[in-house]
């Protein structure tokens, strides 16, 4: 029995929506909807994905325009009501920081170039809903971004560390992120933002399935939470 449901939010310009949908619905077997950015009702899902891509062409600043989409009000409510898990991948991560749902900001890579490659990331905290079922010390995942350089104030950084909220670190820093940070989560561990793309490493045909470990963790967590609640 699989009662977990997911949605992928689509902003104008988003381009990893269909990839993420495919990974969740076809590979993880989770019923998954697309939700258009002007949706302003209750997000009745266990998993909300803010996918990668170039919302609004990344014009002015990555993620800034998407943050003003009506759906972000629903996302904020979803967060307040602790309805489920949110994962922001790449542009989704950028949108979450712009919206203030995750701390810090993502700016231009130090090379000032777009980087598409496969990188290794260390899992720094195996206790989160996004990593609890990860079986490896580090994951190999594709990255594809020009603004993945994570920046945060000293104070906030200390807080992240103290609360164990740095979830992933690059083994070899590709973009200049402070302390090699590749992914962070919210204080209640229910929102994850990460630059690498787990949905691009979810299928054996593409010869890399490390991303599945993250989605599987989320499913496992939600299942156990459901059992605990019922």
């Amino acid at each position: 029995m699989n009662s977990i449901r997911a949605c992928v939010i689509v902003f104008p310009g988003t381009n990893c929506d269909r990839d993420t949908h495919f990974a969740l619905s076809k590979i993880m077997d989770i019923p998954t909807d697309f939700v258009w950015h002007d949706f302003d009702e209750v997000l009745d899902y266990d998993i909300v994905v803010l996918p990668g891509g170039f919302s609004y062409g990344d014009y002015i600043r990555t993620g800034v325009f998407a943050r003003f989409s009506p759906v972000m009000k629903s996302v904020e409510k979803y967060v307040l009501e602790e309805r489920g898990l949110i994962i922001g991948i790449c542009n989704g991560f950028q949108i979450l920081t712009e919206a203030g749902l995750l701390p810090g900001a993502l700016t231009r890579n130090t090379s000032t170039r777009f980087i598409c490659d496969t990188v290794e990331i260390n899992v720094e905290n195996f206790q989160t809903p996004f990593t609890r079922s990860v079986t490896k010390k580090n994951l190999k995942l594709p990255i594809a971004h020009s603004d993945g350089n994570y920046r945060i104030s000293e104070k906030e950084l200390e807080k992240l560390k103290a609360q164990n909220r740095i979830v992933f670190r690059y083994v070899e820093n590709p973009n200049g992120s402070v302390e090699d940070i590749a992914g962070v989560c919210s204080e209640n561990f229910r929102i994850l933002g990460m630059m690498p793309h787990p949905e691009r490493a979810a299928c054996s045909v593409l010869r890399n399935t490390d991303g599945v470990e993250i989605f599987k963790s989320m499913v496992d967590y939600l299942r156990s939470e459901k059992i605990a609640r019922s």
């Binding site: 600043r61 712009e98 810090g104 900001a105 700016t107 231009r108 130090t110 000032t112 920046r151 104030s153």
Partner: protein, 91 residues
Amino acid sequence: MRFIARIVVEPKDGVLDPQGKASMKVVKRLGYEFVDDIRVGKHITVEIQATNKKMAEKIASELAYKIFTNPVLEKYEVSVFEMKKAEVIEK
């Protein structure tokens, strides 16, 4: 009345500015030794209709703060001018 607002958004002091750094490299390569620092920001021009300058300033600052600036990385400056008659007619 019509106003022109200029919003200048720049990296905050002490914040990494990869584009500025990259530009420095190019400038040094071209032999400009006496250039010490480059910061790259945005310059946004907004045309606003408002009943008075205060009002226009309020709108421009709101836009600058809400949209054009990321407070973690950037700071902004706004200046508002009334458009000259000639400019208005031209439109």
